[in-house]
């Protein structure tokens, strides 16, 4: 055994009030982590710093970066990546996988219903005003049948483990969930830096995402198309997720297009190639609903394609995800997920929902206003961790401001008990040691006509600031490779 004090784990401090992923209930290191703990523990601090540097340059050289302005100069930064992987054993994973599929299927049926017969609203299971007051409900989609009957082809389900050891869903992302390319890059970077550790574990691959994505997209091709031509549409190379768009196009072997590369003629979509127009059948779109088609949505959009929506309504092109899915990943709809799953599938939810108070209901509003210090307040329609207030972190004045905001627009806010995200050992540069940091997990589910797929792995996001619960990369979060064991 190497000397305790010289190794990288020597100073790891465990706060017993937090749920640490690598310890079991008795406070022992879990079996699945034992080998890993030993392998990493054998590294001295300078050793580990070198490895960390290697991993960083791997990202840098692969050009997996985002740009920030600093002193008028553009600088490229990498997303922080932690070399110590998170392990999920096959039993735990099965629950997550089944739960994610269940939610995606239920949401798909829900979307069909609210754009067609609206049974669930008529029967009062989900209140009508939840939908009618949503900015993301697209009246243009009423009565439209998406090819293959699929709305949310790609879902990103954000899951956390609470300190009761149970998984809870925090959010369903079914507009343009991003992050899957980082799952694969994290794996690549970890292999480059520490390939030896893979000899000790049997881990599911994550590189099969693109082939499944293409396969499932092609399963919902427009009627009458034999060999579909699939493309990925991006807002362009200055978009923060451009790397992911190009990665997905490359690994699927399809064209990456911008709006200006496409045009619509007689309700068919074509792309401009060096040999003239070529018909496009399936579009994996990474631009938001409002920018898809200036004739139908925002007229000032230069990212979209005039006439695209009309081609879509005629059934001549598949859009993934379908326009209008945003109405269902709204945080207010989230709170009805148990009812939605029960209603369409007649099943009990496999993954827990966090209990949610609706500020639109007077009784619950009163509770929220009285208990702000023990709740998280979330705007229902913001993504990226913006606008979230965590009750026990607010000063008295801040509490008053939040209260005022809620009272002004109760429909805009929901509140949840403060969930304690589990923690995971994470290497921290400033102290050159491992410390506990909160993590969540974004899983990726693809729905096709008669088949579905969940990527065995996912994006474990880490809140790098001590004590911070918000893991989004826009709020200083990093990520880890995630191993699902066979």
């Amino acid at each position: 055994m190497p000397k305790e004090d010289s190794t990288i784990f020597a100073s790891y401090q465990r706060d017993p009030s937090l749920f640490d992923e690598i310890y079991d209930a008795k406070g022992q290191i879990k079996d699945v982590y034992k080998t890993l703990f030993q392998l990493y523990g054998g590294h001295s601090i300078p050793d580990y710093m070198t490895l960390n540097e290697k991993a960083r340059s791997s990202f840098f050289n692969q050009g997996i970066t985002f740009q920030v302005y600093h002193d008028k100069q553009m600088q490229e930064k990498i997303f922080p990546f932690d070399l110590f992987p998170r392990i999920i054993d096959s039993k735990e994973w099965e629950v997550i996988e089944k739960g994610a599929i269940q939610r995606s299927r239920a949401l798909n049926l829900f979307l069909w219903d609210i754009y067609h017969e609206k049974k669930i609203l008529k029967q009062g299971v989900v209140p009508l005003e939840l939908i009618s007051s949503s900015e993301n409900y697209l009246h243009q989609m009423i009565g439209v049948d998406p090819p293959g009957g699929i709305y949310n082809h790609i879902s990103g389900t954000d899951v956390i483990k609470h300190n009761d050891g149970q998984y809870y869903v925090l959010e369903d992302n079914i507009r343009c969930p991003s992050g899957v390319s980082y799952v694969i890059c994290n794996r690549t970077a970890l292999k480059r830096a520490l390939f030896g550790v893979f000899n000790h574990y049997e881990t599911h691959t994550v590189t099969n995402y693109a082939e499944n994505l293409l396969d499932l997209l092609e399963s919902v091709k427009p009627h009458g198309v034999d060999v579909p031509n699939t493309v990925v549409i991006t807002p362009g190379m200055y978009n923060s997720a451009f790397y992911e768009h190009s990665y997905l196009a490359k690994t699927m072997g399809v064209e990456l297009v911008e709006g200006r590369d496409l045009f619509v003629e007689n309700d068919f979509v074509y792309m401009r190639t060096i040999k003239g127009p070529q018909k496009v059948d399936i579009i994996y779109r990474r631009i938001d609903d409002q920018f898809l088609d200036p004739l139908e949505f925002r007229a000032d959009s230069s990212l979209g394609v005039p006439g695209l929506f009309s081609a879509y309504k005629k059934g001549n092109v598949t859009l993934a995800n379908a326009p209008g899915t945003g109405v269902a990943d709204d945080k207010a709809v989230y709170t009805y997920m148990p009812e939605i799953i029960k209603y369409y599938l007649d099943e009990t939810p496999i993954l827990n929902n966090v209990h949610t108070y609706h500020c639109s209901r007077p009784k619950e509003l009163a509770y929220v206003l009285d208990h702000i210090h023990e709740l998280v307040i979330k705007p229902v329609d913001e993504a990226g961790g913006y606008g979230i207030s965590i009750g026990n972190r607010l000063t008295k004045e801040e509490i008053e401001t939040v209260k005022k905001q809620i009272k002004e627009h109760p429909r805009k806010y929901v509140a949840q008990p403060i969930m304690s995200l589990s923690v995971h050992p994470t290497y921290i540069d400033e102290t050159s040691s491992f410390e506990q940091r909160h993590v969540d997990l974004r899983t990726f589910t693809i729905l096709g006509k008669d088949r579905d797929f969940v990527l065995k792995g996912g994006l474990t996001r880490v809140a790098l600031k001590k004590g911070n619960l918000i893991v989004n990369s826009s709020q200083g979060g990093g990520s880890k490779d995630t191993w699902v064991l066979k």
Partner: protein, 315 residues
């Protein structure tokens, strides 16, 4: 392939090739002047002017004295100057970025490394003692890029477009370098051992396009104006010659347009026509009228570029 992306890839090829030629011209001329046989060729002002001429920047005025560091900075690391190596590498990467889904990960990673190498190169080190190191690295990295282009991409239209960019630019740079060195040879003539036809500048010219060793092997004689120009313009076996570049351009344009119907408006027709003109020329017909040749050839290459733009990149 998308027309917009084809255009980007074409320019990626051009910018890679261009940055390499500037780097080579800079260091070869600088170092060969250090022990050149006559005074004028040894003069620093003479070399700096030659560099400016090659990239198409304004040369020094009559009584102006060029500052060595300023000129070297302008050619290599000046981000404000569109002809500098750093700008070229930036453009190459930007073009590669937008076509990232089409090119191999290996090729992209090499371009990216190339970019970061130039971006991070310390300015003072370059100006004081890094000229050789910097230039050699640029040359080596662009060779790696060409290797990755050839050995990691599918040899289809994407490859043809990139190679069209590389070869058109190579021909273009060659003509520019011949032009610059031709003037150098004219200025440097006069004294004993400095006759135009036997000028030291022809050796430098050959080295500027990495063809000196092979030229010696082919002629087994000291380079003269005639043999140098013949080798660099007309010999199809010299990989850097104009003829070789035209042959390459012809091969790759045929991948995009394999119709042999008579179509005088196509790019392939124009390429074939230009190539045919030089395929059976004597160097004596060119050497006497080098200025005319240079002008005509630069126009030919520009016309081919314009034609390609209209035929393939119009979007």
């Amino acid at each position: 392939m998308l027309a917009r992306v084809a255009n980007n890839l074409f320019w990626m090829g051009r910018y890679i090739e261009r940055s390499e030629h500037i780097a080579r011209y800079m260091h070869v001329n600088y170092f060969s002047s250090l022990d050149a046989p006559n005074e004028l060729s040894r003069s620093r002002q003479f070399v700096l002017n030659s560099m400016l001429r090659m990239i198409g920047a304004p040369e020094a005025g009559e009584n102006e004295v060029l500052d060595e560091e300023a000129v070297l900075f302008k050619l290599a690391l000046d981000p404000e100057h569109p002809f500098s190596i750093i700008s070229n590498v930036k453009y190459a990467r930007e073009n590669a970025n937008s076509a990232r889904d089409l090119i191999s990960t290996d090729l992209y990673e090499s371009i990216n490394k190339f970019y970061h190498f130039v971006l991070k190169y310390p300015e003072q080190h370059f100006l004081k003692k890094g000229l050789y190191d910097f230039a050699i690295n640029i040359i080596e990295m662009s060779s790696i890029l060409r290797g990755r282009i050839r050995s990691t991409l599918l040899h289809d239209e994407v490859y043809a477009i990139i190679m069209l960019g590389v070869n058109l630019e190579r021909a273009n740079q060659l003509i520019r370098i011949i032009n610059a060195k031709y003037y150098d040879a004219l200025y440097a003539q006069g004294s004993y051992e400095a006759k135009f036809s036997k000028s030291f500048e022809w050796t430098t010219l050959l080295k500027c396009v990495e063809s000196y060793d092979m030229m010696r092997r082919f002629y087994k004689k000291t380079p003269t104006s005639l043999t140098t120009l013949e080798f660099l313009i007309l010999n199809p076996n010299c990989p850097r010659s104009m003829m070789n570049s035209l042959n390459q351009v012809y091969t790759h344009i045929r991948v995009l347009d394999n119709s042999f119907r008579y179509n005088k408006r196509s790019t392939a027709f124009l390429v074939g026509r230009v190539r045919a003109e030089y395929q059976y020329k004597y160097i004596e017909e060119i050497e006497g009228n080098i200025k005319q040749f240079i002008e005509a050839m630069l126009k030919n290459l520009a016309d081919i570029g314009d034609k390609m733009e209209n035929e393939f990149f119009h979007y």
